[in-house]
């Protein structure tokens, strides 16, 4: 009985430590991730907004993959609909 409880207790302690590590900074880290993501999206869709992008050839490939995220992104940026005439997602 005691042996079977041992690993689960160990795991529970690990989970507690994990929470202890992450809980206070969850918000800050998530916001930072989002900011990074926004910058990334700006790179990928830069040319559509008339900003020349030297890496455009490579980022073009990523565009279809990011369509859904594009939708979230423009809404987060305060635009109800896609800001691009020829690129409608909603």
């Amino acid at each position: 009985m005691a042996e079977s409880e041992q690993p689960s207790r160990w795991k529970r302690l690990g989970a507690l430590l994990e929470e202890f590590y992450h809980a206070p900074y969850r918000g800050a880290v998530a916001r930072m991730r989002r900011d990074e993501e926004d910058l990334f999206m700006l790179f990928v869709y830069a040319e559509m907004m008339g900003v020349p992008n030297p890496a455009g050839f490579y980022t073009l490939e990523l565009q279809p993959l990011l369509l859904e995220r594009f939708h979230d992104w423009h809404r987060r940026m305060g635009m109800d609909h896609s800001p691009l005439e020829h690129f409608r997602c909603c």
Partner: protein, 562 residues
């Protein structure tokens, strides 16, 4: 008197406070409801609002409020003898700090998890909210300046602490990288981090580091102060996951280990308290115990800083309302334990009364130095460590707390400056680098303005820091009392501490102002006056807010508690 007995009485009283007084507050005053839907459920977003295990939250609240301040304050205040410091820490924790921290979390949870500043704006008005921001800024300014001076002093007094203290940053950086880039197992990483920290602690005494006497005309202490602010500026600009998060985490673990070592050593060594109960021959220039005791020990007895922590992240993560008692009241009991350890170390850690008097030669001479000297002798007697290692251990413990607070403090100052930039439309201030420079610049100006070119007098700011911190606590207690009055519940358990705190703060400020003017220290006199204005404004806000509710108050005074 045996120090074990002293510690046992203190710990016993705080435990009783938790068991009985906090239960009374929880059931009769705040009336916690286990079925109340807390913001972590109602507004759950998986980011800020997320129900969290109460023990984890307690750990956070405790480790983020217990820092260098509950060590420095009591270590200075025992100059009046051990009885006053002991009583204020123990009774303060039970009747002031516990109710305050608990109340801040409760108020925030009942107001959609908003920060206490925002709740103030909602309940008292916009003016009070702005006042809150100014007081917070002043607290941060002073805490950063005074900690830089305290760390500088420690590096000079304990050169063996330099290598381990800076290595701790390296350890934190490695942990951060391992966890985020490699997804390393936290359990092993933490153990590895702690072991590495203690290896560096062991190595410290073999590689003591002292800075040159003067560089570009700057004395050693001034050099350290500048180095600390360069560090804090850089650290506060880094993403939180790189340094702050792992540093906070490893410091939290180290706090538990360090407290364990201190109390264990105390039990084994069983030293006697050599300091007098009431110091009959106070060194010249020591201010009167009344009202200065109540601002010299802020953290450890009550500290407004806790309301920022409690209403910032903690309240958004409270799972059940009934958890608040453990997290808030329990968190401040944890801090009281650290302050008690500091009192024991600085009163029982010396062989004779003469040794003790040798350290406490003037007001402000105690601080980290006395804690390190006294604590080290207890730890080395009790656990058989070499005195050098024990001294390094205690010095690094205090330095790490102070360093992490500076890192967070400069970051928060930057946020406030950026927000002011937004409010008053000053574009330049919204820039992160400019705001950090302004933050660090103002702290440096304070450290050198108060302490002279050598920074030697920097600890003069300590009681001023205490007053500002108590002001913040007063504001929070005001908000909690107002909520209670609006709910037609007895507000006396928060209102009486508030009135006491504001009265002590204003008296202490007036007394110090008189001293600064007499010494023609115009810089500190100006700062004191600024805080005094803020204190009077806080008192006026409190008065006018309570006047508006005087009908209900009169009803309550007549025994009309519903």
């Amino acid at each position: 008197m045996n120090a074990i007995l002293l510690a046992a009485i203190g710990l016993g009283a705080m435990a009783a406070g938790y068991l009985f007084y906090s239960r009374f507050i929880a059931t009769r005053i705040y009336r916690l409801d286990p079925d109340y839907r807390t913001p972590s459920h109602v507004q759950q977003d998986g980011v800020d609002f997320i129900p969290t295990n109460p023990y984890v939250l307690w750990g956070h609240h405790f480790t983020s409020v217990a820092g260098a301040a509950p060590i420095i304050g009591p270590a200075i205040a025992v100059i009046w003898g051990w009885v006053p410091a002991f009583l204020w820490v123990v009774l303060g924790t039970i009747f002031f700090a516990g109710v305050h921290d608990f109340g801040a979390i409760w108020a925030s949870v009942r107001h959609r998890g908003q920060s206490i500043g925002a709740v103030t704006g909602e309940l008292v008005g916009k003016r009070a909210r702005n006042l809150f921001m100014v007081v917070i800024f002043l607290v941060l300014l002073m805490v950063n300046a005074v900690f830089a001076v305290a760390i500088g002093n420690s590096f000079i007094n304990t050169p063996s602490s330099v290598v381990p203290a800076w290595s701790a940053i390296l350890v934190a950086l490695v942990i951060g990288q391992l966890i985020y880039r490699r997804g390393a197992n936290l359990m092993w990483t933490s153990l590895g981090g702690l072991v590495a920290l203690y290896i560096f602690l062991y190595l410290g005494p073999f590689i003591p580091i002292t800075l040159p006497d003067t560089v570009l005309g700057l004395e050693t202490r001034a050099q350290w102060i500048i180095i600390m602010f360069v560090y804090a500026a850089i650290a506060s600009m880094l993403p939180v996951w790189v340094l702050l998060q792992p540093r906070d985490y490893i410091n939290g673990l180290q706090l538990f280990v360090g407290l364990g070592i201190l109390y264990l050593a105390l039990v084994v060594a069983a030293p006697s308290v050599v300091a007098p109960a009431f110091n009959p021959d106070l060194p010249a220039g020591t201010p009167p115990i009344f009202p200065l005791l109540f601002v010299t020990i802020a953290c450890g007895a009550i500290s407004g800083f806790h309301s920022l922590v409690g209403s910032g992240t903690t309240s958004k993560q409270i799972d059940k309302e009934t958890d608040e008692r453990l997290v808030g009241y329990g968190g401040s009991v944890g801090e009281g334990m650290l302050a008690l350890a500091a009192i024991v170390a600085t009163t029982a850690g010396f062989a004779t009364l003469e040794d003790w008097q040798g350290v406490y030669q003037n007001f402000g001479a105690g601080g980290i130095t006395a804690f390190v000297q006294g604590g080290a002798s207890i730890v080395s007697n009790g656990l058989g460590f070499s005195p050098e290692f024990a001294a390094t251990l205690l010095a690094v413990m205090a330095i790490l707390f102070a360093g992490t607070t500076m890192d967070t403090g400069v970051r928060l100052q930057r946020y406030i400056i950026q927000e002011w930039g937004n409010i008053y439309n000053i574009k330049l201030l919204t820039n992160g680098y400019v705001a950090t420079l302004v933050a660090v610049g103002s702290c440096l100006a304070l450290a050198f303005g108060a302490g002279g070119a050598s920074g030697a007098g920097g600890m003069l700011i300590w009681p001023l820091f205490g007053t500002t911190n108590q002001l913040l606590a007063g504001l929070t207690l005001l908000v909690v009392s107002l909520i209670l009055v609006k709910l037609k519940r007895s507000p006396w358990f928060t209102l009486v501490p508030m009135v006491f705190l504001l009265a002590m703060t204003i008296l202490a400020l007036l007394y110090q102002l008189w001293g600064f003017v007499a010494d023609a220290n115009w810089f500190l006199a100006g700062l004191d006056l600024l805080i005094l204005v803020a204190a009077v404004l806080v008192a006026l806000e409190a008065g006018s807010a309570l006047m508006k509710e005087r009908g209900k108050l009169a009803e309550l005074a007549a025994g009309g508690d519903d």
